[in-house]
Amino acid sequence: MKSNNAGVVELIDRALNKGVILNADLVVTVADIPLLAVNLKLALASVETMLKYGMMEDWLKPLSLDEKKMTPVKDHMRLVRPNGKQSNISSPHF
């Protein structure tokens, strides 16, 4: 397995977004905790950076966390939609 950054990011993308998924009634997650679709560049950044770009605000809100304390509870992973610039969904025309 590659130990370089790009390889790890590719791995994270696959482990989080691919692979078999089971019905919601069988597993923990999905219904209780939304799936995480990570902006991969930010996956390499720290949590502070994510806060700086306002990408974790909804994450913190429902739990009324004191941002200074930042106590991790049963975390909610938010569906993060990458902004238009970075997610250029374009399909090659073959």
Partner: protein, 107 residues
């Protein structure tokens, strides 16, 4: 997908949007002019006048961008608009993409 207008300074945000649109319209008109020039429905003299007018418009736009420091904003808006259009066109070409996006929204 959204177009971000900088809400910190709404005036500049709006100005950025207006400038972005003006630039786009100017480019469309410019292309029209070239097309007509090449298909000979626009005479050389008229083309010269039009070209000069576009040049002046360009200079004015650049001046406004400098004075209000909105070059970055309007460029960002242009980029977002480009992506929006790309996205819309791709969805027309490939209906499956539309399905994928709908699915993502349901998660």
């Amino acid at each position: 997908m959204t177009i971000k207008v900088d809400s910190d300074n709404l005036k500049d945000g709006l100005l950025g949007l207006v400038i972005a649109l003006v630039e786009i319209i100017k480019e469309v008109l410019q292309r029209q002019a070239i097309y007509r020039l090449e298909s000979n429905s626009l005479g050389d003299e008229d083309a010269e006048r039009l070209g000069l007018a576009f040049m002046q418009l360009d200079e004015t736009i650049e001046k406004i961008k400098k004075e209000h420091n909105i070059a970055k904003t309007s460029n960002q808006i242009r980029a977002d608009l480009d992506n929006l259009v790309d996205d819309a066109i791709n969805k027309l070409i490939d209906p499956m993409l539309l399905e994928v996006e709908k699915e993502l929204e349901n998660v």
